[in-house]
């Protein structure tokens, strides 16, 4: 194996893993639009839906890629329920800290529930398609990771079309800009926020399924994942679905490069250093809109 193909392998693995960060960041971006908080429980919800996928595989023998069409709607409905149960009152408050703290509370609650249900042992869903490897020119591409990337791109495409082409999607964009103004149009802003939140959670469902068959996961991984999604979002910039996805891919790439050149232990150091540097020098991110940053 030449050093060139090793580097290529590193780059490919980075991009493939980054697609999960990207999916998580898209969810954060949509939720941030209307709720004006970083939904810190997103990573934990992704792990939760990975467990749902795991359970469907273990208890009912459902293939993870088939469970995608089951878990995603479940995640959407869970999102609706969570919004009305937890955020209904907080969403109306001027002070966004209450919503943020609710998200943090949810994070630890769900994490500890998962510890009770599934223990702290890492789980993994084995799947024939995901375990298939493509070998060519000394490079090894995991089928499952490739599928995860394709799913992430498709999800970004669908969410973008939904935001641009549908009435409710347009209302989500409108409410992200000016909630009071949408209310004055007779639009139920609370409902629009609920839909946006549910779509964000639906994306957590997609990411959970993508993750379950490719990477080992445990309850504690969720929080780290939320923070990585936040780093990806800051890289991509808020208010742009494909920007968020690209931010995730870039983060995955940089992490893998750091692991290769400096050492695996440095992955986290590099990720958070990037986070801080981006916030200092490029607060609107690589693909974000300047106006959005100014307004927030």
């Amino acid at each position: 194996m030449s050093s060139g193909s090793v580097l290529l392998q590193v780059l490919i693995n980075g991009v493939l893993f980054g697609s999960l960060y990207g999916l998580a960041a898209i969810g954060l971006s949509i939720i941030f639009g209307t709720m004006r908080i970083i939904f810190l429980a997103q990573g934990t919800m992704i792990v939760f839906f990975a467990y749902v996928c795991y359970w469907l595989a273990v208890k009912a023998g459902i293939d993870p890629y088939i469970s995608l069409v089951i878990v995603t709607p479940i995640a959407f409905v869970v999102g609706m329920g969570l919004f009305y149960a937890l955020f209904r009152r907080a969403a109306a408050l001027e002070d966004r800290n209450v919503s943020l703290l609710l998200a943090v509370g949810l994070l630890w609650l769900v994490e500890n529930l998962m510890l009770q249900f599934w223990t702290a042992n890492a789980r993994f869903v084995s799947d024939a398609v995901a375990d298939f490897n493509i070998r060519t020119h000394g490079i090894n591409i995991s089928g499952g990771k490739l599928i995860a990337l394709v799913i992430a791109i498709l999800a970004a495409l669908i969410v973008t079309l939904w935001l641009k082409r549908t009435r409710v999607g347009t209302a989500v964009r409108a409410a992200s800009e000016d909630m009071e103004s949408t209310t004055l149009m007779g639009i139920n802003s609370l409902w629009v926020s609920a839909v946006a939140f549910a779509v964000g959670l639906g994306l957590a469902g997609v990411a959970g399924v993508s993750m379950a068959s490719v990477y080992a996961f445990d309850p504690g991984y969720g929080f780290t994942f939320s923070i990585k999604a936040l780093v990806a979002l800051s890289l991509g910039g808020i208010g742009n679905v494909f920007g968020a996805l690209a931010g995730g891919l870039i983060l995955g790439l940089l992490e893998n490069l750091a692991a290769y050149y400096i050492g695996a232990g440095w992955i986290q150091v590099v990720a958070y250093a990037i986070f801080i540097l981006v916030l200092i020098f490029l607060p609107q991110g690589l693909f974000g809109r300047r106006g959005v940053v100014k307004k927030v």
């Binding site: 009435r167 347009t170 209302a171 964009r173 409108a174 800009e177 000016d178 009071e180 103004s181 949408t182 209310t183 004055l184 149009m185 007779g186 639009i187 139920n188 208010g239 809109r289 106006g291």
Partner: protein
């Protein structure tokens, strides 16, 4: 002549401990342009927001087309035909002109007559048709005000409440916007105008109310108030007066 469309009775509003409106009563008849004038902080915007349902009153009544609106939410009020054009336009800047208009016609009733309303808006404001696919944020100030009014028209309103239509506009553009408001009114839409540009507002309206520190202190026809000494002194005449901030009023 025409029947009562909006009746506000003894309305009082407070923000926390700070009283903003004191026993405000006014009425708007079908087909009228009614102006609400007064200096900054008089409570004009608060009154419009209360009529829209954004703010709940301490006491008092708002009756629209014989219906007591009570604690009905903004959606219900828009559906009944009360639509507000907020101060500073408050457009969706990153949405296109057409998308903004689409948001105006969000409720089922308005959506059903989307095409007819769109034609009406493009007829009133032809420039919006030209700019239909451009971002609202890229429009000029005058065009943005047109879009804000057009967005309200898309809801198929019986009453349009316009908060500070002249804000930030040149005298010529202000006249232009007021001409369009009159045209809208002549098509049968009732208008409640809030204005700091007292001179202009009194010229186009049928009747007007003068507000001061949360109370209605005077009312009459536009003509009556425009020739009233007190009004002239406080809001129109003296150059140095802060109340005469709407500079457009001096262009005649």
């Amino acid at each position: 002549m025409a029947s009562q469309l909006l009746e506000v009775k003894d309305l009082s509003v407070a923000y926390g401990d700070v009283r903003a409106l004191w026993d405000v009563s006014l009425e708007v008849k079908e087909g009228e342009i009614v102006a609400l004038v007064g200096s900054n902080g008089a409570g004009k915007t608060t009154l419009l927001k209360t009529i829209s349902g954004l703010i709940h009153p301490l006491k008092g009544q708002i009756v629209f087309a014989q219906e007591d609106l009570g604690k009905q939410n903004p959606k219900h009020r828009v559906d009944r035909g009360i639509v507000m054009v907020p101060e500073g336009r408050r457009l969706f800047q990153t949405l296109t002109v057409r998308e903004n208009l689409r948001m105006g016609a969000y409720l089922p009733k308005a959506r059903a007559s989307f095409d007819a309303s769109l034609e009406r808006v493009y007829d009133l404001f032809p420039i919006l048709k030209e700019r239909a696919n451009g971002k609202a944020g890229l429009l000029s100030g005058g065009e943005q005000q047109m879009l804000a009014i057009g967005r309200a028209v898309m809801a198929g309103p019986r009453l349009v409440m316009i908060d500070e239509a002249s804000l930030g506009l040149s005298p010529i553009l202000t006249r232009n916007i007021f001409d369009l408001i009159v045209a809208l009114n002549e098509q049968g839409t009732t208008v409640l105008l809030v204005e700091q540009n007292v001179n202009m507002a009194l010229k186009v309206c049928h009747r007007a109310y003068v507000m001061k520190t949360g109370r209605i202190v005077m009312s009459g026809t536009g003509q009556e108030l425009a020739t009233n000494d007190e009004v002239r002194k406080a809001y129109i005449g003296s150059r140095g007066s802060t109340a005469a901030r709407g500079k457009g009023g001096r262009a005649q």
